[in-house]
Symmetry: C2
Subunit: 446 residues, 2 copies
């Protein structure tokens, strides 16, 4: 499936934070899921002869005006069980939101049938919106988490899938029974993914302590041990998300002055760590993240809505220090599971920071937002050797954009440059303009 | 067309700012475009007999689970010519955005063919997204503005349509030639609308000085005179939008301490005035707006994006003082022409105000956002005797929502209450979930 592909037309990808490359008349050849050629400025008429000489596929998809290829979107932070609760509890305070909406909803994933149905909708919904790589928090249930992994593999999504660890400060009906059972379930999920995807072509288990506040020190220690024994496994947690949460953490762990020291001491901070939110950050903690090579999952939608909250993360400062940053939809805390919406909200959040910092932290531009949604996310997931842009040798995770699909995207005019068309898509397009989605060369939406 | 309609099922509308009324098993009967009955708690089985006794239409649309009627959305502020530029220039500073994107684009509307094409897309696009009433800024061209009015009438949208007045501080290629020609063109547009819709069933001309900075005092004076001679005409302008603009206004009109006094002195502030933005407001100016009964068009999308800006308007304070408030998409300054997006961004903006005011200005809840998008907008337009909710006697401007349409809306669960379904639609639905759109009982989208 999708073993040999060739495209001719416009290709747009990021080479770096502010290096958007727009290649017109590109010829891209994909073989066995990998990009084997990306030639620039190839007149359409020369394509057949060129492919002939390359003993490449003879079938070429010629992209018309308004069509272009971009790398697949990377969602560095979201909660798969919350796919079913997107948009709910927006005016509740964060603890009410957890107690009244989220925990009761996640508890339902003990029911295998429910898990299958919602996770199937979730993976389909993400792929439809162009999310080719997702770092998923599961519920605390090992069985449901394994189902999520099965579905990602079956539907062809690249994913980190994590059984959520939480054995305290959560309701009786929704917490791990003990440290031992929480760790044993985690080990079972790791084995499951290694069984179904032994080469890790698409899947990895991700160690997922929900927060420090919901994990006994013994549990964090156990997860740190698994992390050190399994240097291939990514790690994710919520980090300095809300003042309430930060203060509560300090009460529970008075021996640590901040979350960076706390998680590091348990062996949970390294280059494989994906830290969601990072809203309240001191210079010290930013330095620690940089030294430890941790990545930030910026989730502007939930940061600015759920729990009546509003906190814009200091993204420009992270970028200035060379800290890896990607975008997260954080659905369902974030009401939308679209990375396009996350990009737009990241623009708003960065404008808020610009004003709050009196112009110091410059707002983000569209090419920077696009970087965060693609290559930046790949870096956060330590997958940038495989995906994130169209470098020859990388795997082909791509979206074929069609600006002309009937929907609500701003229509094209004859005089629009390719950059203008790209801006129109980023700011006004939606899933209807994502015509095809490829992961490792496999067509997963058409 | 649409002379007799009957619906049975769920109806949701606002009775006031925090009074969301959800009526299940409602029977709504519409005759000649007007709501003639709205009965509550009518079992489905009784509907045929009841209608028989009323000599009402025999054909009833029975709404299923996930379907409900809401009032049409009111967009109190947007620029029709900018429909073609939504999403462009998001990272430019405001003056660059005007000079490089907006003015050259609006200048194109001298071309009648272009105006027809874009305005047709614009009205279709708005109706598709459930905007049954729009207050449009046109370009400065009388002919193009008349075409916009023709199209609204033909396609069945309720609209205020305004030729934009601007005779200075705009480029040579895009400004009114003189005060006289600007006023004469305005008069011609007023006559045109009175000719094509003599009873004002759908259309009104709206007096539209772009800003004080783009109008000579003589022009403002002339518009004020037209306003006083035509007490049926609404008035719209941009008001205290950006610090730059406010300072420039003070330079041009040193005799006024603030924009409220300025516009009032020219006879442009009264209960028919729709003031877009109102971001920077003193107590004095809020008092003036309240006394003069002006309405506020809150445009959170553009306030937080265009020109790298970020300013959240003090909506809670307006509401607390009893000032009328509605929502504006402000497309194309706002990248989206969806009122659902405007509601979500109003939530974000209100959260920003809550944080900035240390909790004083409470964030807006979903029922309040919905009020702003419907009844609040109708009040701002002084149309609340006709539209905005489903009071018996009002005209039937309505959207039939179908939560089950394939799209990206959060799917329904068996245990969802009607309120939960409503929240899912408001926060995650889009135009695909707007199955039918009615204006004055006429089906304008199906």
């Amino acid at each position: 499936m999708g073993e040999h592909l060739a495209f001719h037309g416009t290709v747009i990808h990021s080479l770096g934070l502010s290096e958007l490359e727009i290649i017109e008349d590109a010829l891209m050849v994909v073989s066995d899921g990998r990009i084997v050629r990306l030639d620039k400025h190839i007149p359409k008429a020369e394509v057949p002869t060129l492919l002939e000489s390359l003993s490449s596929p003879k079938e070429v998809r010629y992209l018309g005006r308004g069509e272009f290829l971009i790398p697949g979107f990377v969602d560095t932070h979201n909660h798969a069980p919350q796919y079913a609760q997107r948009g709910l509890g927006q005016s509740m305070h964060i603890l009410d939101w957890l107690d009244k909406v989220t925990f009761p909803n996640e508890a339902r994933f003990q029911d295998i049938g429910y898990a299958k149905r919602i996770y199937s909708q979730c993976v389909d919904g993400f792929l439809k919106q162009g999310i080719t790589t997702a770092s998923y928090y599961g519920s605390l249930h090992a069985d449901a988490t394994n189902i999520l992994a099965d579905l990602c593999l079956q539907k062809g999504q690249r994913a980190f899938v994590g059984k959520c660890n939480m054995n305290r400060n959560a309701p009786e009906f929704y917490r791990d029974a003990s440290v031992e059972s929480s760790l044993a379930d985690t080990e079972a999920c790791i084995r499951h993914i290694r069984k179904i995807d032994p080469e890790g072509k698409l899947l990895k288990h991700v160690l997922t302590p929900r927060f420090a506040t919901t994990c006994d020190p013994e549990l964090l220690k156990g997860l740190g041990k698994i992390a050190s024994e399994n240097p291939d496994l990514p790690i994710q947690t919520h980090f300095n998300e809300a003042e309430q949460e930060i203060n509560f953490t300090k009460t529970l762990f008075p021996e640590f002055k901040n979350e960076a020291d706390l998680y590091e001491s348990f062996g949970l901070l390294n280059r494989r760590s994906i830290l969601a939110h990072c809203c309240f950050m001191t210079d010290y903690e930013m330095d620690r993240l940089k030294s430890l090579e941790c990545g930030v999952a910026h989730c502007p939608i939930s940061n600015m809505t759920v729990g009546g909250g509003f906190m814009a993360s200091p993204i420009r400062q992270f970028l200035g220090r060379g800290i890896k940053v990607g975008l997260g939809t954080d659905s369902g805390g974030g009401y939308s599971s679209s990375i396009l919406d996350a990009m737009r909200q990241a623009l708003v959040a960065s404008n808020a920071r610009e004003v709050a910092s009196q112009g110091q932290d410059r707002g983000l531009g569209i090419s920077e937002l696009f970087f965060l949604a693609t290559l930046g996310g790949a870096q956060v997931c330590c997958l940038d050797d495989k995906i994130g842009n169209f470098e020859v040798g990388k795997e082909f995770d791509a979206l074929l954009i069609n600006s002309g699909t009937p929907g609500i995207m701003t229509m094209l005019e004859d005089w629009d440059s390719t950059e203008t068309i790209f801006d129109k898509f980023i700011m006004t397009g939606d899933d209807r303009n994502i015509d095809q989605v490829y992961v490792r060369g496999r067509l997963v939406k058409s």
